[in-house]
């Protein structure tokens, strides 16, 4: 069994992060923006798990668990906000939120 080079795992994490960033910047549908945020968080988790394997230590995986918890809470609140936004504006276009007045 051959070991995987450490830097290749980090490179994959960086590539996934950049793809998520492109998605967040280009998309106007707010559901897609939330999905691309998930991709970015997941890339961070990947970097932590790869580092955990590199130093043979459990701390990286615990940090991944914390990121998982954060992502779950963030998605729950974000989707609640999306539902509320759809009720108010009948659209998922984030550009309508530029004129938010209470």
């Amino acid at each position: 069994m051959q070991a995987i080079p450490f830097e290749q795992g980090l490179m994959l994490a960086a590539a996934l992060f950049a793809l998520g960033l492109i998605g967040v910047l280009t998309r106007r549908n707010v559901v897609f923006v939330l999905m691309c945020l998930e991709i970015m968080l997941n890339a961070c988790g990947l970097a932590f798990v790869v580092s955990s394997a590199r130093w043979q230590h459990a701390d990286g995986q615990i940090m991944f668990l914390m990121i998982l918890t954060l992502a779950a809470a963030e998605v729950a609140v974000g989707l609640g906000l999306i539902i509320q936004m759809f009720r108010k504006f009948q659209t998922v276009d984030i550009n309508v939120l530029t004129q938010m007045r209470g």
């Binding site: 793809l19 549908n29 990947l46 798990v49 989707l79 609640g80």
Partner: protein, 160 residues
């Protein structure tokens, strides 16, 4: 292991690209689930079976189902696909792709200097569990409070 890693990495990258190019929300979500499962396989190849299981159960299972339910509630339909196509014109991609590519090149440059072999032995459930309920027990408590706050917040926000 090597082959498994490269295969899973290719699947993860391709399906993530498909997510950001897709105009149908449900199709994009299914591609995202595929990408997350591929990342779970990568966790397994790096000797982290516990993280791989959690990725499959919590991310690909619970969080994506939450997305699916909200998409069903919004009931966007065919109209939104056409709207999405009209938003995703060619020139909207130029700026973000250039900026993200610059960032990626910088990141890759930093990462390339960190060359090291990863040992094949794994950090199993036992080690993670011991650390989680040993020195990190406070973090677990704080995470539970965060989840409770997320639950209450989501309930309040989604209420009519």
């Amino acid at each position: 292991m090597m082959l498994l890693f490269y295969l899973a990495a290719a699947i993860a990258l391709i399906s993530t690209v498909a997510v950001i190019l897709q105009s149908n929300v449900v199709h994009a979500l299914l591609y995202l689930i595929l990408s997350l499962l591929a990342v779970a396989v990568i966790f397994y190849t790096f000797g982290a079976p516990f993280a791989a299981m959690l990725e499959a159960i919590v991310y690909a299972g619970a969080i994506m189902v939450l997305f699916l339910f909200v998409i069903m509630m919004l009931n966007l339909g065919k109209k939104s696909v056409e709207q999405e196509r009209s938003w995703l014109t060619g020139k909207i991609w130029i700026g973000p792709v250039i900026m993200a590519a610059a960032l990626l090149v910088q990141l890759l440059n930093v990462v390339r200097q960190q060359q090291a072999e990863v040992a094949v032995s794994q950090v199993g459930v036992r080690e993670v569990g011991m650390a989680l309920f040993g020195p990190y027990v406070l973090a677990v408590e704080i995470a539970s409070i965060l989840l409770l706050a997320g639950l209450v917040g989501a309930y309040h926000l989604a209420k009519k």
